[in-house]
């Protein structure tokens, strides 16, 4: 097997599972340590650099980091990373003096961002600090995009969105609200140096079934209805509500309906419970609020009495998989199920919609109506037009939109400076020893055996009565410290220096997860079988080092290493060291180093 090159930035980055899984590559363990140390403003600043909206994401992020968390592999539950982000945001105090200031002299380039959602605001922030004059256009009455219009206030209060969009406006970004952009051609004619399209996926998919037209008064498209609730246009709903769909929008719909007077709210999903697109915790919360979820029911028709909706009829199905593993839902033949209701919320998907982009201005679209983009640079077929967020590759989530915003900002900057957009700046990395004394490290290597802490919530009866009252209370300092201690500090890497090793076996004997082996070299697949504990998780790397006196090699299975540093404490020669790996992704303005 080839010896591991720790200098390649991806190797150690991958060991930090949470950071690797985060689309914006937020340095998670670093900010968790700062939260534990009570340095909330510092923790917030690290988040703000990477993900722009720590207060928002600390509440409603899709949390790709948590399923990736190493803790989930050595114990049952991952670290409550998202909750700790919120702690940083809640307790940070005034951070305005930490925010960057745009240069006194603007660089003369003018950028238009269309839509004021997370992707556009990220582009605006990254470019404003470099001296670009950025104008954000949005049809709404306030910035935030889908974060404002689709996420219910009891999950994400307006004040948080105001604050974090405010930081960006404070950088000199002009946000032109109530401004509907109806032609990209006109926009381009206005002489912008580049245009960024971050208009999201604004159109809810409808359920075209018999009775849809007749009963239209009581059938609502999920995201439109959520927007009406968010802006106070809708304040009530019928007593019995059916929500069609199994994604996070469906969960937001049913929980909002529950708060607007829906006493008997039920969710009906085509697929099985486990295949539902909603995040597990959102399903849990819906169930906690007394909302049953029915699975394997496909809607057949809206039943109405002379235009007044009375119910929805469903066919019972089961999932069948073909040889390629593709699922099809097949009717069981059971009699159709009629579920009576007063209102239906349709949350079965979202689509992109670009009626305002002329098809003859050089921006090409594919046959699904999606813009043709370079996946890395997010540049469209017209060099001065860039896309990001849900508008780029369809609906994903906020953190993905932020990550794409960063990439688009790099592209726009390079484009405006006349540089090759395809050349991307490398991330900034550092690897520094954390040794402070013989048995002292700059991080807490005493592994906590605590279980994940639950989020304290407001009393259900209070929160079900007010659609704008935030449900989750956030961790207090004590909970935050306990939870932060569960982090395994995966960014503090085990670094091995073969020529210093005397092969005394001390590291092997002390390793609590039995991940170190000294053995004869071999091919990776075969080596994995004959380690001290077989390395069966092939998604996790083997750390391989040669150059030992006996000709053997050191192989460490990264899978379940708990980063306790005991190998380094037990090593008589310092061949093992614990070194902190820092990686900050490059943002706009970073230089491309010649290879």
């Amino acid at each position: 097997m080839k010896p591991t090159d720790l200098g390649a930035p991806d190797y150690l980055h991958k060991v930090v599972d949470c950071q690797w899984a985060c689309p914006a590559h937020t340095p998670v363990p670093e900010y968790i340590r700062l939260v534990a140390a009570g340095r909330y403003a510092d923790a917030y600043a690290i988040n703000w650099r990477s993900n722009v909206f720590p207060g928002i994401l600390g509440r409603v992020c899709d949390r790709p980091c948590e399923p990736a968390c190493r803790r989930g592999r050595v114990e049952e539950q991952p670290v409550a990373i998202c909750r700790l982000k919120r702690v940083a945001a809640d307790l940070k105090g005034d951070i305005t003096d930490r925010l960057p200031r745009p240069p006194q002299q603007p660089n003369g380039k003018r950028i238009a961002c269309i839509g004021a959602g997370p992707a556009s605001m990220t582009v605006a922030r990254d470019l404003a600090v470099l001296g670009y004059s950025v104008t954000v256009f949005d049809s709404g009455t306030s910035a935030g995009g889908m974060m404002r219009s689709q996420i219910p206030k009891f999950r994400l209060p307006d004040a948080i969105i105001d604050e974090e969009c405010g930081y960006i406006e404070g950088l000199g970004v002009e946000v032109r609200l109530n401004h509907w952009v109806d032609s990209l051609r006109d926009m381009l004619a206005a002489g912008w140096d580049a245009v960024f399209v971050g208009t999201g996926a604004p159109r809810g998919r409808d359920a075209e079934l018999p009775g849809r037209q007749e009963a239209a008064a009581n059938i609502h498209l999920g995201i439109d209805w959520l927007a009406n609730v968010a802006f106070g246009h809708t304040t009530s709903i019928g007593r019995r509500v059916l929500v069609l769909g199994g994604g996070n929008t469906a969960m937001d719909c049913c929980r909002s309906a529950r708060r607007l007077g829906g006493e008997d709210v039920q969710v009906v999903v085509r697929s099985g419970f486990d295949e539902m697109k909603a995040s597990p915790w959102e399903k849990e919360e819906a169930i906690h609020e007394g909302i049953p979820i029915h699975n394997f029911l496909v809607p057949l028709e809206f039943v109405h009495d002379k235009g007044r909706l009375t119910g929805v009829r469903f066919d019972t199905v089961r999932a069948e998989y073909d040889a390629k593993g593709r699922r099809s839902l097949v009717s069981t033949g059971a009699p159709a199920v009629l579920m009576p209701c007063d209102d239906v919320l349709v949350a079965i998907g979202q689509e992109n919609s670009f009626p305002w982009i002329e098809r003859d201005i050089g921006v090409d679209f594919d046959r699904w109506g999606m813009p043709v983009l370079d996946a890395k640079t997010l540049q469209s077929t017209r060099p001065d037009v860039f896309f990001g967020g849900d508008a780029a590759f369809g609906p994903k989530n906020i953190i993905t939109a932020v990550a794409q915003g960063h990439e688009a900002a790099i592209s726009i900057d390079r484009f405006c400076q006349g540089q090759d957009v395809a050349l991307r700046p490398a991330p900034l990395t550092r690897l520094v020893s954390q040794k402070m004394g013989i048995h002292e490290w700059s991080y807490a290597n005493d592994v906590s055996e605590d279980r994940r802490r639950k989020m304290p919530v407001r009393d259900l009866s209070a929160t079900l009565g007010d659609v704008r009252l935030e449900l989750e209370l956030g961790f207090d300092v004590e909970l935050a410290c306990k939870e932060a201690a569960r982090c395994l500090n995966c960014d503090v890497a085990t670094v091995f220096t073969p020529h210093a090793c005397i092969e005394c076996d001390a590291c092997i004997d002390i390793c609590p997860s039995e991940c170190i082996t000294f053995t004869a070299d071999g091919e990776e697949a075969e080596l994995r079988q004959r380690l001290k504990a077989p390395a069966t998780n092939t998604e996790q790397s083997l750390y391989h080092a040669d150059g030992l006196k006996t000709g053997r090699v050191m192989v460490k299975d990264e899978n379940v290493c708990v980063h306790c540093g005991m190998c380094a404490e037990r090593c008589p020669t310092g061949a093992w060291d614990m070194q902190k790996f820092v990686l900050h992704t490059a943002h706009a303005g970073a230089e491309v180093t010649p290879v």
């Binding site: 004997d509 069966t536 379940v560």
Partner: protein, 351 residues
């Protein structure tokens, strides 16, 4: 050395033995020895051997004397019986314990100072009495606790950390054990667990006096150039005569070996020792041959390791003394103290 206890988190695929225990269940307190001490590897080997043999921890008694080596029983088998005795007196305390309760597995842990200097008499008599025990000497050639003076096993001509040359002749404990009647004699190296773990397993299942001399480098005082007990020196001069596999009676035998390369020894309890020859034609059932071989090779500067001698037909102390099958604590007061009438009858029979 480290101050932190090992985290209790276990990897999800942690193997369990027939009793449902993990390797971690056979560990003890966290070691306070120097980082890199060979003794810690021997502790880990004992843990591995007991795990592999499905040993019930409460059926083991571990006894030791004084010294770095004699501290180690604290670092393994945390749920077993233990006795940290006086310097060099582990063998007699262990003999007494074994006489009182023959149903425990006895593990004596000692060092070169404890067994070859102050306790050499005790060592010698435990071997010749045939106490049913596993006697492990963690042999580093120096007195580590008192800053590295030569011990009685240090080779003549070897150099101390301060540069002093040793002028005294060394005691070869394995050779002595052979001469004194041990029926299972082995030598190994703490840096070679593949060899050491099976040797400990074979000894634990031997059922008679089993002795293992384990060269265990002292990283702090005896791991320099000029030492003959350093990691590098032992690796360079290690001449293994065989490789051992211990096969329990219930286990299926899977491995196949070329004819003539394997010697099979069945022990009292039905466990089978598979000895794979390594290069030399060495006969581990020939006690005199083994003694000669050890002397020959030592003269050439080699360190002979492996299972040097095994006699599975030997009898232990209980057989010599014709002791009762049950342990004393199970005999009951009436049996142990049959009263003055029985004493009078015994006295009368001897008049």
């Amino acid at each position: 050395m480290t101050y932190l206890a090992k985290p209790k988190l276990l990897r999800p695929d942690t193997p369990r033995n027939a009793l449902g225990y993990t390797r971690r269940d056979y560990e003890g307190a966290i070691s306070t020895l120097c980082a890199g001490c060979g003794h810690d590897s021997i502790s880990a080997s004992v843990v591995q051997a007991c795990f592999d043999l499905d040993v019930e921890p409460h059926k083991v008694a571990k006894l030791s004397g004084i010294g770095c080596s004699s501290k180690t029983p604290d670092y393994f088998l945390g749920n077993s019986h233990g006795f940290n005795s006086v310097h060099g007196r582990m063998p007699s305390v262990l003999t007494g314990a074994a006489l009182a309760n023959r149903n425990l597995l006895y593990l004596g842990v000692s060092g070169d100072g404890d067994s070859a200097s102050i306790g050499i008499g005790q060592f010698a008599h435990a071997m010749r009495r045939g106490v049913n025990m596993t006697y492990i000497v963690e042999n580093n050639g120096v007195y580590g606790l008192t800053k590295g003076q030569f011990s009685a096993t240090a080779d003549k001509g070897s150099k101390s950390k301060k540069g002093v040359i040793n002028s005294d002749s060394p005691i070869d404990l394995a050779a002595l054990a052979l001469q004194l009647g041990a029926t299972y004699v082995a030598r190994s190296f703490s840096g070679d667990k593949e060899q050491l773990v099976p040797l400990i397993k074979g000894a634990l299942r031997h059922g008679g006096p089993a002795f293992i001399d384990v060269i265990s480098p002292c990283v702090t005082f005896n791991n320099h150039t000029g030492s003959t007990k350093s990691y590098d020196y032992v690796r360079e001069h290690n001449a293994a005569v065989n490789r051992l596999d211990v096969i329990l009676p219930k286990a299926q035998i899977e491995a196949s070996y070329p004819p003539g390369s394997l010697r099979r020894v069945v022990q009292h309890d039905g466990s089978i020792l598979h000895l794979r020859k390594l290069g030399v034609d060495y006969d581990p059932s020939d006690r005199i041959g083994a003694m000669n071989y050890l002397q020959e090779r030592q003269a050439l500067g080699e360190i002979v390791t492996g299972l040097l001698y095994v006699d599975s037909s030997g009898e232990d102390m209980h057989a010599h003394l014709n002791t009762v099958e049950k342990s004393l604590n199970q005999l009951g007061d009436a049996y142990l103290c049959p009263g003055s009438g029985a004493l009078a009858a015994l006295n009368a029979s001897l008049r």
